[in-house]
């Protein structure tokens, strides 16, 4: 009797869950022109110079403007607050500002604001958290009411990228009077949306900037109000989306996204992002012995064998899903300088076994694969490795703990991911990992020299050639096993016109109701 009633209960619950898919949203945001969105992470501050989270980039693009703008489709640089920009020399850039651009408090943007903000960010005494975005700036000088000169410490080709992707411009008077702490909860910018309410840990309310300057390449904001909530649980986000209390969420796990896609009132777009997943080996042999044997990864053939052993296509297609694809070069394909014509290690377990035997491991060996996210992906890799005789134990750690261990040279094989901070230039990935910094596990002086030269060269063709050489070398030496691109599942109301881009920065100022 009891058993039967429990069965009945579970069956009716299941039916209810199915039924719930066909319900219409109760109060969709379209009616009151309010876009309700949710993110899992709370922002520590809305001051872009003092937060490092992706959510910080997203809100900065809405509330503030940068000097430049990178077209998300063509990757071409255009002026945003700048009317025009040009290089005077390798280390000096001249910028003429648009006239008549107003901050949300009505004050007009002038060269004083630009010089103040960038000098503030570049000055190490101010301890901004995003040092790397601005530490290339030597100083910024006002040359007229609407013109500035940016002086660089040394030639820095990624300057345009950082001026368009980071370094928003703040109002000098207001910022210097309230300071970063005050600004963090009551920010003022020139962007397409004004921040009207901040409740820490709960929500941020943005309102359309009616006076947004007409020629902005960002276009004019459309939706009247954006309510940005912090909801830590993705299941709760999904429930809110199903009832229509939310209009947009992202980073939904693939299996859940498939279910949401079946609901007629929702659209699911599994859009590729710049994040790639890869395995890195301790080729520089900082770890020495592990599992009672010498580090096998100093041997090129072992690294190549693993590159052949991993079934990239299967992980990309079956686990990551959506637009995910396999990658063979140590960068995201759209990035400037990301050479695709590198040695490709196709999936071939037989070849992997042969290489292992040649390397002196005919029966494979025991090892540890470290990781910090996507346990299911890592388990698939473990399976692929087992098929060629490598018995890998999986160790999932917190990101900070793993990084500490890795930097101390105590990991031989790690499954890591890198999002390049959405910067469409290979320097944001290879230069970080192959220039003998703490995260360089291969320490190849040839690769380093090529990269350093490319990083400081202004000549585009030369940079491209040098990065290509470096990436070819990395692939030949199999320092990494690049695997697949990540996908962000954007799930949103059918009423919403929304376009995701590979830099994984949602642009709600371009969205509108259908």
């Amino acid at each position: 009797m009891k058993k039967k009633s429990i069965n009945l209960l579970s069956i009716s619950l299941f039916i209810l869950m199915c039924l719930s898919c066909f319900l219409q949203p109760a109060f969709a945001g379209k009616k009151d022109d309010t876009l309700n969105i949710a993110f899992s992470k709370e922002l520590e501050t809305l001051d872009r110079y003092f937060n490092t989270a992706r959510e910080g980039i997203v809100i900065a693009r809405h509330a503030y403007d940068n000097l430049l703008y990178r077209d998300p489709v063509t990757y071409e640089y255009k002026g945003l607050l700048a009317k025009s920009f040009k290089w005077n020399t390798d280390t000096e850039m001249e910028i003429v500002l648009r006239e008549g651009v107003k901050f949300h408090n009505g004050q007009e943007l002038t060269a004083d604001d630009v010089a103040y903000t960038l000098n503030f960010a570049a000055n190490p005494d101010n301890k901004v958290k995003t040092q790397r975005y601005s530490d290339w700036i030597d100083k910024v000088e006002k040359t007229g009411t609407y013109s500035v000169k940016i002086m660089l410490k040394k030639p820095f080709p990624a300057a345009l990228e950082f001026l368009s992707g980071a370094n928003p411009i703040y109002p000098k008077e207001y910022y210097s009077s309230v300071g970063p702490d005050g600004f963090g909860v009551k920010p003022i910018g020139t962007g397409p949306y004004k921040v009207v309410e901040v409740i820490p840990g709960q929500k941020v309310v943005l309102e359309k900037n009616e006076n947004y300057f007409k020629d902005s390449p960002k276009g004019q904001p459309n939706i009247g109000k954006i309510v940005w909530r912090t909801l830590p649980e993705v299941n709760t986000q999904m429930a809110e989306l199903m009832t229509g209390s939310l209009d947009w969420i992202w980073l939904v796990p693939p299996d859940q996204a498939v279910k949401l896609a079946e609901i007629p009132t929702l659209t699911v777009t599994p859009a590729e992002t710049m994040r790639i997943g890869y395995i890195v080996f301790d080729a520089a042999n900082r770890s020495g012995t592990e599992h009672g044997m010498d580090n096998p990864y100093v041997n090129l053939k072992v690294r190549q064998a693993i590159n052949h052993a991993i079934n990239r296509d299967s992980i990309a297609k079956n686990l990551v899903g959506g637009q995910s694809r396999s990658v063979y070069s140590a960068c995201f394909p759209s990035q400037f300088g990301c050479e695709q014509d590198v040695k490709q290690y196709e999936y071939n377990p037989e070849k992997a076994k042969k290489l292992l035997a040649e390397a002196g491991y005919p029966n494979g060996f025991e090892t540890t694969l470290y990781g910090y996210r996507n346990r299911d992906f890592a388990e698939a890799m473990i399976g692929d490795l087992a098929a060629v005789g490598i018995k890998a134990n999986l160790m999932i750690m917190k990101y900070s703990a793993l990084r500490e261990k890795a930097r101390a040279g105590k990991t031989q094989m790690q499954f890591l991911t890198w999002g390049s901070y959405s910067i469409n230039d290979v320097s944001a990935i290879v230069s970080h990992f192959f220039e003998f910094e703490a995260d360089d596990f291969s320490r190849d002086p040839m690769v380093r020299d090529l990269l350093v030269e490319a990083d400081t060269s202004i000549d585009t063709a030369k940079r491209k050639k040098l990065y290509s050489q470096a990436l070819k070398l990395i692939a030949d030496q199999a320092y990494w096993c690049p695997m697949f691109t990540y996908v962000s599942n954007n799930c949103y109301s059918k009423d919403l016109d929304f376009t995701p881009y590979p830099d994984a920065v949602p642009r709600f100022f371009q969205s509108k109701w259908k």
């Binding site: 709760t236 703990a401 500490e404």
Partner: protein, 305 residues
């Protein structure tokens, strides 16, 4: 009685110090806080800078005593993540967690006491079994899962209740049920056994022989005697609930201490996590202490042992 109270108090203080020490040490060995504070992709220099700024480079024991010394004076420091003092953050969020804790406890009592009484009146019948199954289900189901089931049923399908947030009383209904249900079995079983014991006692037999009406016997003479130990258990359960609200608050996006603990752990905001652990353990220790004293007051056998 005084000696017993002092002994208990001493023990409570030792437990408090031990808890604060262990949590302090554990939090620091769980990963370099400087690395996670600096964020993904931070360079070594940036991490070093954070380490120095927050004083993570000094010996652990010195860090602990500095922190404890300030905590005694009520200064819990500043959050390493948000630009706010920890004391202020706790004050802001305490209300939600306390409301949730008290509501859940009330819900648990309202469910458990009648169930326990019913079970005791008709022991070993289907009523008893049903009451037992209802309460055991509460303990067997993980509260996060039960919370999600409530969301699907009342939030998504019936749309009676809002799913997340803490703006109105309606927002508290589902979290209260999810959290309170979990505490039901302990209380219910105590009521049942207490009632059974009292019902079998001589004074009840006398009352029945005198021809007193059944409801009067049940409520006035039986429940009043059986409920005493329940009050003590309920106090301890409240402590459990304040701690257990971490998962529930995260699911329902209630902006309370539990949620704060959850996000602070993931972003390695040590001052906040420490303060919450300390705060919740003090409440728990206080409630247990009060329950001990209360029990000893009622039952002389406890204080003499």
């Amino acid at each position: 009685m005084l000696i017993y109270t002092l002994k208990r108090l001493g023990l409570a203080i030792i437990v408090m110090i031990t808890v604060s020490m262990i949590s302090f040490m554990l939090l620091r060995v769980s990963g370099d806080p400087a690395i996670s504070l600096a964020g993904e992709g931070a360079s070594s220099a940036e991490i070093e800078f954070v380490r120095e700024q927050y004083g993570f480079d000094r010996p652990l024991i010195i860090q602990y005593f500095e922190w404890a010394g300030r905590a005694i004076q009520g200064d819990l420091g500043n959050s390493a993540y948000v630009k706010q003092s920890v004391a202020q953050m706790l004050r802001e969020r305490m209300g939600v967690t306390m409301t949730l804790g008290i509501c859940s406890l009330t819900f648990a009592m309202l469910l458990a006491i009648p169930l326990g009484m019913l079970a005791a009146i008709r022991p070993n019948t289907w009523i008893d079994r049903l009451a037992l199954s209802i309460s055991v289900m509460g303990q067997a189901m993980p509260s996060f899962w039960f919370g999600l089931i409530l969301i699907i049923f009342f939030g998504v399908y019936l749309r009676w209740l809002p799913i997340s947030g803490s703006d109105t009383w309606k927002h508290f209904v589902m979290p209260t049920i999810a959290l309170g249900y979990y505490a039901t079995p302990a209380i219910m079983r105590l009521v049942r056994s207490g009632m059974l014991e009292v019902l079998a006692s001589d004074h009840i037999r006398t009352a029945r022989a005198k021809g007193l009406r059944w409801p009067k016997i049940l409520f006035k003479h039986t429940l009043r005697n059986a409920i005493i130990p329940v009050v003590a258990v309920a106090a301890v359960q409240l402590g459990f609930m304040l701690g257990g609200s971490i998962v529930i608050e995260a699911i329902f996006a209630l902006n309370g201490l539990g949620n704060l603990a959850w996000v602070s752990i993931s972003r390695s905001d040590l001052p906040v996590v420490q303060a919450i652990v300390l705060f919740l353990s003090i409440i728990y220790i206080f409630l247990t202490f009060m329950a001990d004293i209360f029990n000893a007051f009622l039952d002389p056998r406890i204080r003499s042992s």
